[in-house]
């Protein structure tokens, strides 16, 4: 418990995932877990292994992605502070094909599968939060499916920029490569699109940084938003 301070718990209590939970419940969650710190670029779980540990990011950023046979990476999720990773892992005793990596130095609350399962049993209130979170993830995945089937690359990139802006603010610290891995396209297409947006005065770019000047212009909403 010495690993965590009161501040960490405060942050969690205010975060969307923990909404509606008693502070005591959050404290007990901390009590059943350990602190784990991953250096930048650490591979936390790789494809094929049976990763049953649940993580809650305290500070830093995790990327959940796969690297396909053709060498292209596809990013499913970015996990930031007070967000959970692998909520369902302990319930699926089979290897998943996802890979998690720390994009920067990341400190996590780490909970072993058995402790997690026991905790959920003993604190049924959290089931509500878990299901809500997963539900949003599922809706988001479906929205992205729709985007990929329906929309052109430019629209998808717009959506990704908009979503990232909502989640991380401005400037965005991502390269065109990283953007393209989320949008499902190539760095070249991303750069071309951002070139257009720059001409339109909607954003400006620097090596690894993107300033969004006109967030509403990115909104092209049809149906639900995606969640990254």
């Amino acid at each position: 418990m010495a690993d965590f301070d009161k501040n960490d718990m405060d942050t969690f209590c205010r975060a969307p995932f923990f909404k509606g939970l008693a502070r005591q419940t959050v404290e007990r969650l901390f009590a059943v877990g350990d602190c784990a710190t991953f250096a930048k670029d650490t591979l936390i779980s790789s494809i094929g292994d049976n990763f049953g540990t649940v993580l809650f990011v305290i500070s830093g950023l995790l990327r959940v992605s796969v690297c396909s046979a053709s060498g292209r990476r596809i990013t499913f999720l970015l996990v930031k502070e007070a967000e959970p990773y692998n909520l369902l892992g302990p319930y699926l005793n089979r290897s998943r094909f996802l890979e998690a990596q720390a994009l920067e130095k990341t400190r996590c609350l780490k909970i072993r599968d058995r402790d997690y399962l026991k905790f959920v049993e003993q604190h049924p209130a959290i089931v509500h939060n878990i299901l809500q979170w997963i539900g949003k993830s599922l809706d988001s995945a479906n929205s992205r499916l729709l985007d990929l089937m329906e929309k052109k690359v430019e629209t998808r990139i717009l959506r990704v920029l908009s979503t990232l802006h909502q989640k991380f603010g401005s400037p965005l610290l991502f390269t065109s490569q990283e953007i393209s891995e989320i949008a499902g396209t190539t760095p070249e297409s991303t750069l071309r699109t951002m070139g257009l947006l720059r001409e339109m005065g909607i954003l400006s770019t620097q090596r690894g940084k993107i300033w969004i000047h006109d967030p509403p212009a990115l909104k092209d909403t049809e149906f639900g938003a995606i969640k990254i």
Copy 2:
């Protein structure tokens, strides 16, 4: 309760979703629900409404899809007997953008959101089943994302045919239109691909029917399977 017979419960008890649950639990699930029968082509929930009811199909088939602005339909899920629909709806008190429709005459066990929430609270064992089911759905959605970003149309159609064959056997009672709505392509592309497969002797087709002669030939697995 007179709406259901012992046979219905037997089917459910044997089904994957209910694996590991006591028969008594299944019986009580039936007890809190009503029987609902939908005629073919009935729209069960449409886009934008706040559909909080959980359904378990007893017989028949439901399609979960969206119809995009450009008029193209995209099918996310086919729900067959002993499978659940809208497991998470009661936990997400916001309108979802999915639309459910009965593809044939379909009989369901219908459970109102409040009854469902109460049931889950009183029967924590089912949480495990729910999370497992949702976990598979999430993995499946991610697999489809990967397919759409990575694979060409032919491969996707192959995957869809393979998955449908596993779930429904042979012959498949789907039109090229319906296949394309799952694979995220057009009927023309689907027909062209199936033309090739027919020449290779892997399948044969008739109006609305597809016989798969060589299921292994359809397998081109990389990473997880999709689930339709």
